[in-house]
Amino acid sequence: MAEPFLIGEGMTGGYGGTTILNDCTISVDRGEIAVIVGPNGAGKSTAMKAVFGMLDLTAGSVRLDGRDITRLAPQDRVPEGMAFVPQNANIFAGMTVRENLEMGAYLRRDDISGTMEQVFDLFPILREKQRQNAGELSGGQRQQVAVGRALMTRPTVLMLDEPTAGVSPIVMDELFDRIIEIRRAGIAILMVEQNARQALEIADHGFVLVTGENRYTDTGAALLANPEVRRSFLGG
């Protein structure tokens, strides 16, 4: 099997002294959706940060398209086509919604109005609120801004940390639809979800993390079918 497009392999590391990730491996290929699930505090967000270079790894490596990028600074991964929506503090609170989206396209030199329209079509409320400061939005609206910002980069790898937390069902559906659409364009999508059943339904691969280790790794459908996984991690 050829190596996946993006892989964080055998990642070990944590914050300061403590080790959070233990030989954890996460990967995703082009045109695929990979979903990470697991209990709170399992290290899912930490794994995402590690893949994006926001954590010092004591062991393991991150490779993009076969190239070792373990030592690349986060801001230098953006030009490589990686985009990331963190779980917390994922908007520029003091800037308007429109400026938030523009910041997503910071490195792009081409015309961004088309992409902006696409984001507005996906999240109509943002079109309405584009001149408002993002910090004044409701919780779900902020989440939409955050995802919109990442979409603006037109990435080759899209990493989303709980993109649907706090968004209403209708928006969540739209979002998942959109993600499927993006996958079709050959983009690799890596996401963490607590709405795990919906997420695994559309996922090609799933990773179940517990205390920083891979507990289960399988296709989305297989994980959904696994009663043990369902009971312990997906809420029955």
Binding site: P39, G41, Q144, P169, I170, Q194, F233
Partner: protein
């Protein structure tokens, strides 16, 4: 138990809450749902005293509480959690819980200085309670961690945990479920039901997870564009065309069926 009469809240030109009138029955677990930006959190904030409404009146047990500061509402047994977790970042997880306990003698300087024995006894009791809550939330391994270092979901759990330190009359939960693992959320749901049944707590919860709402809440109030759109049982609400149009979307039913 809580009655809101024609509550409005404007932020500059934005009408976040635009004439909401509703009543929360004592002893019920009321769900509050609605599209993003419907004004749910803003209404919570008005009721819980984070800021006063622009106009309208709010009553708790027929006493007007409009504009009262949160700490006075706490004294009357009204508690709330925050949608975006508000942890005490430099305090340990246990201290986060312990500080929430009511009427602590050790919180006056005089006792802190001159009645150490009394304070120590009191602390012991509070600490025990905190440890129970920690146990329940499954965050025992991070009990000594700075709360600022918790994961997103753990912070939400802590948010909930603080309300469990207090004997409350009514608790407002703002999306406790968002970001919380579904298996754990089920346990939390059970605890809410137990608190409601055994201790008579009244709950009002904002949630976007319809399974959770459906399992726990009756009645369910739907808000949209700052107003109350409708109220009814979970089943009624989910079947309502307006609600589906504005909030649930058509996809959800299909998915729910697949999931079930």
């Amino acid at each position: 138990m809580i009655r809101c009469e024609d509550v409005h809240k404007n932020f500059g030109g934005v009408r976040a809450v635009d004439g909401a009138t509703l009543e929360l029955a004592a002893g019920a677990i009321t769900g509050l749902i609605g599209p993003n930006g419907a004004g749910k959190t803003t209404l919570f904030n008005c009721v819980a005293g984070a800021f006063p409404p622009t106009s309208g009146r709010i009553f708790l047990d027929d006493e007007e509480i409009t504009g009262l500061p949160p700490h006075e509402l706490y004294d009357r047994g009204l508690l709330r959690t925050f949608q975006i977790a508000h942890e005490f970042g430099t305090l340990s997880v246990r201290d986060n819980l312990m500080m929430a306990a009511p009427d602590q003698a050790g919180e006056t300087l005089w006792n802190a200085w001159f009645s150490p024995a009394k304070v120590r006894a009191e602390e012991r009791a509070i600490r025990e309670k905190a440890d129970e809550v920690i146990e329940f939330l499954g965050i025992g391994h991070v009990a000594e961690e700075r709360a600022g270092n918790l994961s997103g979901g753990q912070k939400k759990l802590l948010e909930l945990g603080r309300t469990m330190m207090v004997d409350a009359k009514i608790v407002f939960l703002d999306e406790v479920g968002a970001g919380v693992n579904r298996t754990l959320l089920n346990t939390i749901g059970d605890a809410i039901v137990r608190l409601n049944e055994e201790r008579g707590y009244t709950f009002c919860m904002i949630e976007h997870d319809m399974d959770f709402i459906g399992r726990l809440c009756d009645p369910v109030i739907v808000m949209a564009e700052g107003k109350v759109l409708m109220q009814g049982s979970a089943a009624e609400v989910m079947a309502d065309e307006r609600v589906i149009e504005a909030y649930l979307g058509h996809g959800v039913k299909n998915k729910a069926e697949v999931g079930a």
